[in-house]
Symmetry: D2
Subunit: 324 residues, 4 copies
């Protein structure tokens, strides 16, 4: 197995609200406080930032703060959801001016990312999609989105655009909804620096199997970034990793090893009511537990069981390895 590199996002340390409590469940921290909080979490060596929100006081201040803590910048996310101007879409908006603004924002984010020493820009197009029937022309939406990503990605090939899919929320239906649609996008764009972020909670929400997604994207050399969390199914609850599932996460870790993933594992949780540091730390500890469990089982045992059509024996092996 590769050396794991864990990160978490600054937004985890915000005031976290929901539509019924827009003022938030807690007092949010400013970006410097967030970075300081993240640096205190055992096992975390990277921070994922949000552009432009985290850079309101300039890139330098953030850069210095990160350097001061010894953290790496894992990725910079470009926020295409949190401003009302994107409410009918960003790169797929019907309004050419809005589309151009989104492209420019991504390009700026790419420069910021590069200056912070990371190659990864995360693109989660949360507002691109639709709510009602007859609301958009689906071919136009798709083509505009393809053009926008192509245009931004062509700006500088040394920065990777990591497109994060999600089936729904905040739009009732998202344009880039599944891993397969994200891969179709990458293939149509056809640029080496465009790939996919797998948020494993989004994958579960979409009814996907995470290990299968990892193999599919990796075959296409498009597995660029990973967000970690868990949920109770059907929605992006952004819970502690492992608080609901075990076996399919174990299979995910096996898949990550087999494809040789050596990128960041970025904890993306939403601790409305819990201590954010503890929620992140538990997620990292659970991943480490999965690593140990997988090592105890051994790849050979998995290979052996998988060769036959014998899922019972591999489950038996897992159960025994849990060793209580």
């Amino acid at each position: 197995m590769s050396e794991r590199k864990f990160a978490t996002g600054t937004w985890v340390f915000g005031m976290v609200g929901d539509r019924f409590l827009l003022s938030g469940y807690r007092k949010g921290l400013d970006v410097l406080e967030r970075i300081a909080s993240i640096a205190e979490i055992e096992g975390i060596s990277g921070v994922e930032l949000l552009y432009p929100a985290d850079f309101a006081d300039g890139v330098d201040r953030v850069d210095e703060a990160i350097e001061g803590t010894g953290l790496d910048c894992a990725a910079v996310g470009v926020d295409l959801a949190g401003d009302p101007r994107w409410k009918f879409g960003s790169l797929s908006s019907k309004d050419a001016r809005i589309r151009n603004e989104a492209i420019e924002l991504i390009k700026n984010g790419m420069d910021v990312a590069s200056s912070l020493g990371t190659k990864r820009v995360n693109i989660w197009p949360g507002q691109d999609g639709y709510d009602y029937a007859f609301e958009v022309d689906y071919s136009n939406s798709w083509e505009w989105f393809v053009e926008g990503i192509s245009s931004a990605a062509s700006y500088r090939s040394d920065v990777l655009l990591c497109v994060e899919y999600k089936p729904r929320e905040p739009r009732i239906r998202s344009l880039i909804d599944t891993s397969a649609r994200a891969l179709l996008l990458c293939n149509e764009v056809g640029l080496g620096n465009v790939g996919v972020t797998v948020d494993i909670g989004h994958a579960i929400q979409a009814g996907e199997n995470i290990a299968e997604v990892i193999h599919m994207l990796s075959r296409a050399r498009k597995l660029f970034h990973i967000h970690l969390n868990d949920n109770r199914g059907g929605w992006d609850d952004d819970m502690i990793l492992g608080s609901v599932r075990l076996v399919e996460f174990l299979e995910m870790v096996d898949a990550l090893d087999r494809v040789g993933y050596d990128g960041w594992l970025s904890v993306d949780v939403y601790p409305y009511r819990e201590d954010p540091q503890k929620v992140v730390a538990e997620s990292v500890s659970f991943f480490a537990f999965l690593d140990r469990l997988l090592e105890r089982i051994g790849k050979e045992a998995i290979d052996q069981a998988r060769k036959g059509d014998d899922p019972v024996s591999i489950f038996s092996t897992i159960r025994k390895a849990l060793s209580v």
Copy 2:
């Protein structure tokens, strides 16, 4: 069929945000502006208010504003979700002090409702439930909730407590999650002024059949209030009534007629990106269309088809009545 009475909620005219855009998709109106906006919508004769938020400047100002428009107060909702103090529950909180605060708030809301000329207080316990396994003692939660409702309901029997169930959101699992659980609550409380609000989007989210719910609650004399909206399934999207479904809403209207429901039909939508007045007006117009469609079909035709086990013929009748 009874004369329909349509209302809508003041919150529909707020700044409507979500967890990614806490500052809202639009500038919200103050409560007097909201009431004025609601009064302009054709077909709407009632307003549903939220306590305490709508009464920050006193009950009298709101009362005068309503009177000035000729609207009726359809119901007063007591807000047990939009304050961080309820984050681990209100009536079912582990903290007795919080539980008492919730009871007091409901009692005050009952007085406010009465002074505004309505008998209905809506109780949506959005924060009562849990997120993680092992978080609450389920028996305690339930018993505290029963006690709290009993205590509040006993305060004055001339006001009806309408408990609104919902399977999830904002908590990942809600305590009062389905119509059946809500009815169990009513039965255990055993007071005539405790009943149920059916938000039809919540019913759909819970996998329920609305017409069946209406018959079940009505048999028990517990159908106290109704919220109208629609969704794409699996989540409370709060869309325009009829924008997704038709046949099951037609069955709902048939059920309302058969049980003789003569209460309010309160449009509860969340127009993040649309004009709130239009979204409410369309919902009312769609309901009126359902009424006309049902009248054209005729109860006898439905009875006839239902007597046999022949769902094909009733569908055929509906299709023909659509008459295009």
Copy 3:
């Protein structure tokens, strides 16, 4: 914790087909072979039978076969799904003759159960419900079902009727769909020998939390019987216990201990492609693992964490107890 008593059903050893392969995935065994197969599974001490299918050659032959193996009869299920005459419902059929036939079948099943030494008759009303809108009169269906259960239960009070709820399949919507609806049924019937079977896969399919269901039913003294299996969510896949979930099953075992459940734990799986004996044995072994894990964690640790609103610490404790 109580001494666990594990059983499994004879249907697990049938030819198991689906709608695309009605002739089955394997050659089924006759009932005597099924009993013999079940007796060979380590940890299994009971067998759940299906009436009338398993008794085509008489009750005595089955009784002798069970005695010969040393198994106990855990329950007798009355089959209200597997005969076309029930296709529009059994106890809730619009046809009084069908309803009476269903009542008679249950009474006969009660006698058979008693003669086999068990008090439990399982009633899974799989065909009672509906597919299309406007197909049934929901109040009639409910009332006929209540009457049918009352009539059958009154036949002899020394046999327990265990009503097994399920949200859907084979009907698109089931009449007794959730634990709350099943409890409403019990309350309306009002007889001490009518209670509920919790099939935990059905509970998951219904979006329920198993531990919560156990506490709710136990408070009402209606937790009569339990079926064990697992699924990937949204459907009754009838998989090996634990092959998908862990934490919520651990919470289930904690709940069973706290309410003092001492009944049968009957493995109800559908091994279309796997060895039935192994699938049952693994399920039992996984339950034993949960028991050991819970013992290692200790009830005090759970109580302590649950007292505060601290789900993170209990998850941390579980993770550490897994000990790899």
Copy 4:
């Protein structure tokens, strides 16, 4: 709009059973009786057959029967689900012998289709997928499937292979689960005669929007065949078209017109308890109703509303066009 061509499948007239009633809800017809029944349905001009089941007595007898009725053969489906030998997959089986048998069966089916005068062979790989974690090597499965389709498609380029995706059932997770995955398959195979069958119930089950799928596949020239039915969401209930939905089907018809679809519309329903002829006839009549409704609304009105971001106005237009 194109002239519509409606067909239905012979399996609709089988004994239709489910896993609890393997002997079926009715007496099935033999293939000649099925064809005769289909020919009696108003509006149906094509029949979709299943190979090899429908050809047990030779291709000629079937050919003559079709000719005698004046029906066209709309498509021949190759059955890769209904034989236990496919239980661990057909084209993606780990067993090379099985994979080859599947390829040969498809080739034979292609010949049969051609001799019956249709270019369409439907491939629904219902057994290709998995149930448990760690059961298959996802990369292998995918590559074997790609190879199998390539091999079969290369056999004769004058026959179209129409791959029908479905998220689950009978396997708990299907290999070709969504329209996007099906399109990735087509792109990787890279042959002009490999495309996609959209079963609209499968699309709904997968959480897709049908109109969007039609536009996406049509852009790629891969919309080869369509199956019509409806469901209550989350499962492939195979109900009468329109018995649950209206607006999204209207949008589907609009999409079919805009992309110029002129292929078959094949009614694929499962009338467990209803008269198969009536269920098919109602589905066709409902589609005709959608055509008339769309014509009354007019493409210009839709275009106009879609240009702005105004889903409310288009919904209003639809409602008014319903004209009751």
